[in-house]
Subunit: 198 residues, 2 copies
Amino acid sequence: MNNSTRDIDALIEMMSKLPGLGPRSARRAVLHLIRKRALQLTPLADLMQTVAVTARECVRCGNIGTTDVCDICLSNKRATGEICVVEDVADLWAMERTNVFKGRYHVLGGTLSALDSVGPEDLRIPMLESRIENEGITEVILAVSATIDGQTTAHYIADQLEGRVKLTTLAQGVPIGGELDYLDDGTISAALNARKEI
Amino acid sequence: MNNSTRDIDALIEMMSKLPGLGPRSARRAVLHLIRKRALQLTPLADLMQTVAVTARECVRCGNIGTTDVCDICLSNKRATGEICVVEDVADLWAMERTNVFKGRYHVLGGTLSALDSVGPEDLRIPMLESRIENEGITEVILAVSATIDGQTTAHYIADQLEGRVKLTTLAQGVPIGGELDYLDDGTISAALNARKEI
């Protein structure tokens, strides 16, 4: 590779740093885009330009949208009183895809982590507390990961909010379609302890 | 998702159609880009815009670059007389990374395929023949895939060029670092047949 392909090399380099892509898949993606440059590369570049300008975090819940307060926070079809606390916007999107939860969200922006020195002030925890005061929240659903950091964060938030709202967490158990044989012991124990009468 | 996130959704949708990415990894990549929009999303969009305008196929060999005739074809450090025939620009790039081949290339743009009705006129085969006439080529290295379509293409080209130039092909055998136990029978047979005295 040399001077006249500098931009193409730079594009491959940038693409290869995206999560989920490596040098090989970045080269394939860039070649694909160059072959369909009128149909795909130009529209993709335009769309990225637009999103770079319009995308912003919701000042209330931390969701990503194109308005200062996101549509979920603004919607009057959403149950007031319920807040689902998630670690990340990706988790919020995952919850939304199920179409089950009808309340609003609060995106923490990570988990507490002593190792990476992430404290409560680095997450959106103070903002959560002020929302509970101001929005008449009655239930906080802690939908954080079942990892050590996730659970530490959930415990911390539960400690802070105790007595002020009803606190719930997602049920743990066998995933739909999950085969017992492939599940870890912790999940099986949790499912057994939380067994239900049929 | 709804109206105000339309552009973000469209961006995820477009990204998810790139080779090597699916809906999940596209969502992750887009979230990552939005979080670093000043540092990554805007520069990436700009670079894509530039490449969309400047990228073109070399009129001589089919390589992708930013000039009508690519740097490899223009370079006077390249051995004239040798042409390495590859299926695809990705294969050319792979050959270039080894820094071993010092001649020029010819990108076919695919393989002959009865199933997908790709004939010689759909590939850059006639152009290869005229290059051999005009550029004083003495050796053609057929570096096509060891697949059925690749080998059919190699046979066809060999038939066309027989007697006009020296025709060679890449050696087949055990890959460097390859464990016999994991190799297919065809590769082992080929390596055994082509065994060399040490």
